[in-house]
């Protein structure tokens, strides 16, 4: 990687563990290349911190290809930073200017407690999925070929759009109410639109919404910030679909 010439002031949330009080710390970082990804810039900062013998900044990351949903930084007041339709790992330093001050914070939500520094515990999403975000498939050896079931193209496209959700939690982080409804509605929609999802359709939406509420996420007030900041640009049309699904399941719980 080429050495760059950007000098940055970084204000980073530091918190040593889930129970400790945290605070914003200021770091100076020079020689940043505009070609670096945001996470590579943090790696560079961590090298500097480690050389000083201090504790490196903990942050979540995995694939660094924009598909795993692990990276999760709230950068300059926006989830995954200022660009649209990308995760933090796909954000590059060319989106910033030499001399910039950049605020970096963890997702803020009751349902996402901070583990350390910029890492939050997103197990609440796993528990929501476990409550109904699946299709029970018969795997006894007579599994039906998916292509044998006719599905309207429009439904398949919408289901696929919903299924692109990587569960990163940017919707929760950016929502002023810390609502998880974009995430839950994407998962509900993905199955509600396809015939394979229909047998468990009603209990799915009832259980997932129940679990979402139990995790302490807020309520949707149709502000629409989630669909703007979502790295996969998932539409709040999915939230409307979840509202329909839940209404129908509440009125008549059995299929």
């Amino acid at each position: 990687m080429s050495n760059g010439n950007m000098n940055l002031t970084l204000k980073v949330w530091r918190q040593s563990n889930s129970t400790a009080a945290g605070k914003m710390e200021t770091y100076q970082l020079g020689g940043v290349s505009p070609d670096m990804s945001f996470l590579e810039m943090i790696d560079m900062l961590n090298e500097q911190i480690i050389r000083k013998g201090e504790d490196a900044i903990a942050f979540d990351h995995d694939c660094r290809e924009g598909i795993c949903g692990m990276c999760s930084m709230f950068i300059n007041g926006e989830a995954h930073g200022p660009n649209r339709g990308v995760t933090t790992c796909q954000l590059h330093m060319r989106s910033f200017k030499d001399g910039d001050t950049i605020y970096i914070e963890p997702w803020r939500a009751e349902g996402f407690p901070v583990v350390k520094d910029l890492m939050v515990d997103r197990a609440a999403f796993d528990r929501i999925i476990q409550s109904g975000g699946f299709v029970s498939v018969n795997t006894s050896g007579r599994t039906m070929d998916a292509n044998a079931i006719p599905i309207p193209k429009d439904d398949a496209d919408k289901a696929f759009d919903a299924a692109t959700c990587i569960g990163c939690g940017a919707c929760v982080a950016t929502c002023p109410n810390s609502s998880a409804m974009l995430f839950v509605s994407a998962k509900v929609s993905q199955f509600a639109l396809l015939p394979q999802g229909h047998p468990e359709r009603k209990e799915r939406v009832l259980n997932m919404v129940k679990q979402m509420d139990a995790e302490g996420f807020g309520n949707c007030s149709n502000i629409g910030a989630c669909e703007v900041q979502c790295p996969k640009s998932i539409s709040i049309e999915n939230i409307a679909r979840m509202n329909r699904e839940y209404l129908s399941a509440s009125v008549k719980p059995e299929n």
């Binding site: 007041g77 009751e110 409804m181 709040i236 979840m242 509202n243």
Partner: protein, 228 residues
């Protein structure tokens, strides 16, 4: 109160009561617009008399208050739950990058409307139902029947520039509350589809403008003497 335990059911109540209150606004603005006949308030007073004495309307008024209370209580529950959902605020947040100020300010706008409503009910509702009008004479004879002269009461109230400003601020808050609330109600009830979303948005925009401007024009027209 199982009807309020789920986040989504709270949203349905918010939408349903909101749309119900919107339907009331149509009737209220429609009848008040009778002052623009500029006939000394005769048509308006006749309608006011009908609304004040008709048994069905009187019964619906109870429903209106219940709907309003439900909308307020539900809104407060949502507001406090939503605050609890983010115990630690961001050191640096830029909400304007992804949403509009009025969509984030529904609780504030609703509170302003509620303060306005208290003043407004004290100005008119309380006087017509309980304490009697302060204008003299308080009644006027139309077609041989005595009617409360609500029109003269309006003229009296809107001679005060402070009252006019308060009413304009009330209309301003109402406009932004409706502007987000109208389309939001449809989304909450699950009605959002690319086929008709733009129609709902347009209807909501037109409705918010028409209702707010119509209401705002009444104190202004009376204060400036256009209607007398």
């Amino acid at each position: 109160m199982g009807l309020f335990t789920s986040s989504l059911i709270k949203k349905y109540w918010m939408a349903a009561t909101g749309l119900f209150l919107i339907s009331f606004l149509v009737v209220h603005a429609g009848i008040n617009a009778m002052i623009f006949f500029n006939d000394g308030g005769e048509t308006f007073n006749e309608w006011g008399h009908f609304m004040g004495t008709n048994l069905i309307v009187r019964t619906m008024e109870i429903g209106l208050f219940l709907g309003l209370i439900l909308h307020i209580v539900d809104g407060l529950m949502l507001y406090f739950q939503n605050r609890k959902a983010r115990p630690i605020k961001y050191a640096y947040n830029k909400p304007s990058a992804s949403s509009t100020w009025y969509s984030r300010s529904m609780a504030l706008l609703g509170t302003l409307i509620l303060i306005f409503l208290v003043i407004h009910l004290k100005d008119f509702w309380l006087k017509t139902r309980i304490t009697g009008l302060s204008v003299e004479p308080s009644h006027v004879k139309i077609d041989g029947v005595m009617h409360e002269n609500l029109f003269a009461e309006m003229l009296l109230v809107f001679q005060n520039p402070v009252a006019v400003v308060i009413y304009l601020l009330g209309c301003f808050s109402l406009f932004w509350h409706l502007y987000h609330g109208f389309r939001s109600a449809f989304q909450s009830l699950g009605l959002n589809h690319r086929k008709y979303a733009s129609t709902i948005e347009l209807a909501g925009s037109v409705f918010s403008v028409v209702i707010s401007v119509l209401f705002a024009s009444m104190p202004v027209a009376m204060y400036l003497g256009w209607v007398k």
